[in-house]
């Protein structure tokens, strides 16, 4: 369907249509909306990691002058245990309600308990201090090993592990056990001549978006309510909030503001339902903004994990067996992405015998949320470290070993289907042939290679393209623009009609003026919303041809469309798009095209990264001196934004590998809830991040597109991790490789 072909507009790095607003500060993000009569909401949060709430009295807070409303869990109508699609898989409504406002029990440091709305933010804060609350402090569990041990304190008395052969009779902190298998793992290891195995640890890490969660809401007595919020999916916000508050979808309008980063962390709700309750009770619009401390403590970071992986191969390099056991922290409520870790970890390899066991474990930490390819970075870290160890043991080049075992079209995956056409081999070859790979390393330097796989998703997207009498138009779509996708929508809309992209203005509709669209995440936007845009553009062209046909008194089949012009095949006449629009009022009304789809056939994106580091043996400090991110985009609609996704994912992964971790006290209190001590990469930490865009088209998309947003965060953990191992000559098992840890490894080996 889409081999390498010539495009007129696709493939250029155009200036994004929302660019002017973004560089001037005019763009409006979640905290930027003020409404007349607006009041401010603040939340009282648990000072304990695990405690029963023995008593709660809000009367003194309510009596403070300026306080207009107070909300607790009892303000939710009784919610039943139904699954809700909130962007990260199934999360029971009960769990969501209890996470948004605690019921009876607090389960992590920072867990929301009571919300207060007052005339100023300062008064609301004062009111929090007047809330009388008595806790019975319980022992927290802070690690999967602790949580899974016999006799561990239990977070939920009604949690019985799902997925065990026998239904258990005692409650547990293990929510689910999963198993994926293929072939015969014992036979696979029997056939192996070399075996590598290791245990690994990755820490809790936050998506680190610079914009805290924020919303401004208004609940109206006639039931017409509005939420303005920073979110990756406003239809999901509507669904979750409506379910939590027992509202009809049609009575709740959600407007997606511009969003200052999400990476999966803004695919669920925290403030919005609470703000709406406060607005209902006070009769005023309510604004709620999280501060940075709250973002770290009480939103949804990515899971900490403990994994064990074992790989067996023949001396000739063919891998015969891959096995893993992955235990992921879900935080306070079930639902870590351990399943996706199990499904992706071994998928870069064509190996007949695989077995993975996964555990979803609750601990007294914030409930995890999706973080860019959720579950995959942690699992792939373990696998790629071992593939590199295997290469050393076999005396093989690490790229060459991967090429020998690489997944390709037709490779059977552990999770079921065979892969269709994919670009891992092309990425590996690009890595092998890159300038980076030819560079020699200096003393104290090391190099790591790593691969990664992500499925990418399709799903529902709706678009209309509304044409104006002067031949300009508006593309109304429903995917909040996190990374510049509007520019790609413009090009995809312009390609078939063959008019300048700048004539078509893309806007993100709200839940009332655009049809249903699934959230921006899963690397779906350029793929699925793009497909809907293309379909809407085809619809516009079809209608243009129809109008031209009626003006010329011929049939639509006798009209062709090329270069922005309708051509009468039965005669000489031509009509430009602008001319057809100018007379549209007389030929049936202004033209509007639509595409409403549930996109199928999302193509996976494989990535391969190369990392060179320099280690200061006296301090343990690691510097990344050279980095190349190679990834299959299928077809890069906007090459600079595709590069940007590769670079952004790489740097988040570098941060996760080198310095990012949640640090807890023994009592389970989060000690580094700020950017000073939760150390994300800054500009002076990094070199330029080189990128290579590989294009192996996805035949299920008209232009060959594969999503690219997520795969780029998967390889860096092992690319960096193994580079350090290579530099210091000591096996690496735990992240992050902060200076004290690296220094300890070096000292320990002397």
């Amino acid at each position: 369907m889409s081999e390498a072909r010539e495009f007129k507009y696709i493939g250029q790095s155009t200036i994004r249509p929302d660019g002017f607003d973004k560089v001037t500060g005019r763009a409006n993000y979640g905290a930027d909306l003020a409404l007349p009569g607006m009041i401010w909401g603040k939340i009282l949060r648990s000072p304990h990691a695990h405690a029963n709430i023995k008593s709660l009295d809000t009367r003194r807070a309510e009596a403070l002058p300026g306080v207009l409303a107070v909300a607790t869990h009892s303000d939710f109508p009784s919610v039943s245990d139904q699954a809700i699609e909130s962007g990260e898989g199934s999360l029971t409504l009960l769990d969501l309600a209890r996470n948004v406002l605690a019921k009876d029990k607090v389960l992590y440091h920072g867990h929301a308990i009571v919300a207060v709305a007052a005339k100023t933010a300062a008064i609301a804060e004062q009111a929090l201090a007047l809330i009388d609350i008595e806790y019975e402090v319980l022992k927290p569990v802070l690690d999967v090993r602790e949580a899974m041990a016999a006799g561990a304190p239990l977070l939920h008395a009604d949690m019985f592990t799902q997925g065990l052969p026998e239904k258990p009779t005692t409650a547990s902190n293990v929510a689910t056990r999963l198993e994926f298998k293929m072939g015969d793992i014992e036979a696979g290891f029997s056939a192996a001549e070399v075996v590598v195995e290791r245990e690994f640890y990755t820490p809790t890490a936050h998506q680190g978006y610079i914009e805290p969660h924020a919303c401004t809401v208004r609940f109206e007595k006639d039931g017409q309510s509005m939420i303005w919020c920073s979110t990756q999916g406003h239809f999901d916000v509507r669904a979750s909030t409506a379910k939590l508050l027992g509202m009809e979808l049609g009575k709740l309008k959600v407007i997606a503001s511009e969003i200052g980063g999400g990476f999966g962390g803004k695919t669920t709700v925290y403030l919005e339902p609470v703000a709406l309750i406060l607005s209902r009770k006070s009769g005023r619009p309510v604004k709620m903004i999280m501060n940075r401390d709250e973002v770290f403590k009480a939103t949804g970071p990515g899971s900490a994990t403990r994994s064990w992986v074992k790989i067996g191969a023949k001396k000739d390099g063919s891998i015969t067996a891959m096995q893993g056991r992955l235990a992921y922290e879900a935080g306070a409520f079930k639902g870590s992405p351990v399943m996706m870790g199990c499904m992706t970890a071994f998928t870069p390899y064509a190996v007949a015998n695989m077995y993975v066991e996964g555990f979803d474990v609750v601990v007294n930490k914030a409930k995890v949320a999706a973080y860019r390819a959720p579950g995959a970075p942690q699992a792939e870290f373990a696998v790629e470290m071992l593939i590199n160890e295997l290469a050393v043991k076999l005396g093989r080049d690490p790229i060459d070993l991967r090429l020998q075992n690489a997944a390709k079209e037709g490779t059977q995956t552990i999770y079921g289907p065979k892969l269709k056409r994919v670009g891992l081999v092309e990425c590996l070859e690009a890595a092998r042939d890159s300038k980076h790979y030819q560079q020699a390393l200096a003393e104290n330097q090391g190099r790591g290679v790593a691969a990664g796989f992500w499925f990418n998703v399709g799903g529902q997207s709706s678009v209309h393209i509304n044409m104006n009498p002067d031949g300009t138009g508006t593309i109304v779509e429903g995917s909040p623009d996190i990374g510049g996708s509007r520019a790609s929508m413009q090009m995809m809309a312009a390609e078939r009609p063959c008019i300048a992209p700048s004539l078509l203005k893309p806007i993100i509709g709200d839940t009332e003026n655009v049809a249903f669209s699934a959230g921006t995440g899963g690397s779906r936007t350029t793929f699925a919303t793009g497909m809907a845009v293309i379909e809407a553009a085809e619809d516009v062209v079809a209608q243009m041809k129809q109008r031209a046909a009626s003006l010329w008194n011929v049939t639509a089949e006798q009209v062709d469309w090329a270069d922005g012009v309708a051509i009468n095949l039965a005669g000489e006449e031509r009509l430009s798009l602008a001319e057809i629009c100018a007379s549209a009022d007389r030929t049936g009304g202004q033209i509007s095209g639509r595409g409403n789809i549930n996109a199928r056939g999302a193509g996976p994106s494989f990535a391969v990264h190369l990392c060179d580091v320099d280690v200061d043996k006296d301090t343990g400090k690691v510097d990344v001196v050279r980095y190349t991110a190679i990834q299959d985009a299928g077809k890069a609609i906007h090459p600079k934004y595709v590069e940007g996704q590769y670079q952004g994912g790489a740097v988040q992964g570098i941060g996760w590998a080198l310095n990012e971790e949640y640090i807890y006290s023994k009592e389970g209190l989060l000690e580094n809830a700020g950017f000073l001590d939760y150390r994300v990469p800054v500009a002076s930490d990094l070199p330029m991040i080189d990128t290579i865009i590989v294009e192996v088209p996805n035949n299920f998309h008209p232009y060959g597109v594969r999503g690219v947003g997520e795969s780029g965060i998967i390889p860096p953990l092992a690319a960096v991790g193994y580079a350090v191992e290579d530099a210091i000559g000591v096996p690496v098992t735990d992240l992050p490789l902060s200076p004290p840890r690296v220094f300890g490894l070096i000292q320990g080996s002397r």
Partner: protein, 159 residues
């Protein structure tokens, strides 16, 4: 406590406002003056999203009290470029795709302008260290640094 009356100058325009003593300059700009171009990312001076200039000095607005603006010249993102023409730095950010979500962009534009004013010919390392106080989570900084170095070169050429 009664609000305090402050007279100041913002982007060259005489301005007055009332604020509580505890309010930061960031609170004043965003909530009292509806100048939401300056963003709050952390409230503790660690992310640079609220970068402004106070008497020409690059500062985090969250670390300055509103009352400290009295008698001073405040420079914000709203004062960069004019209503019909972007500054060279702003143009280069767009050309190089040096923004994805854009939340850090106003702070970076203000900081980059301060950098180039102080050091019209920065090396890559100088640019990276000067801008280390502006966090970006989306881009990995690569295209930002390219945009800033290109802007500096263009401004040297144009000068």
């Amino acid at each position: 406590m009664a609000k305090i009356h402050i007279t100041t100058s913002i982007n060259g325009e005489a301005t007055e406002f009332l604020c509580e003593p505890h309010e930061t300059l960031l609170d004043v700009l965003r909530n009292d003056l509806q100048m939401t171009g300056t963003k709050e990312g952390c409230g503790s001076g660690d992310c640079g999203a609220c970068s402004v200039t106070v008497d020409g000095r690059l500062t985090c607005a969250c670390l300055v009290l509103g009352v400290e603006a009295a008698g001073r010249e405040i420079g914000t993102i709203e004062g960069i470029g004019s209503s019909d023409k972007l500054s060279i730095i702003q143009e280069k950010f767009l050309e190089h795709a040096a923004l994805q979500c854009g939340i850090c962009t106003p702070g970076l534009v203000v900081s980059a302008q301060a950098l180039i004013e102080q050091n019209p010919n920065p090396t890559e390392a100088e640019a990276r260290y000067f801008l280390a106080g502006n966090l970006c989570r989306c881009t990995g900084y690569d295209k930002i640094i390219r945009a800033v170095l290109d802007a500096a070169a263009t401004m040297r050429g144009a000068a």
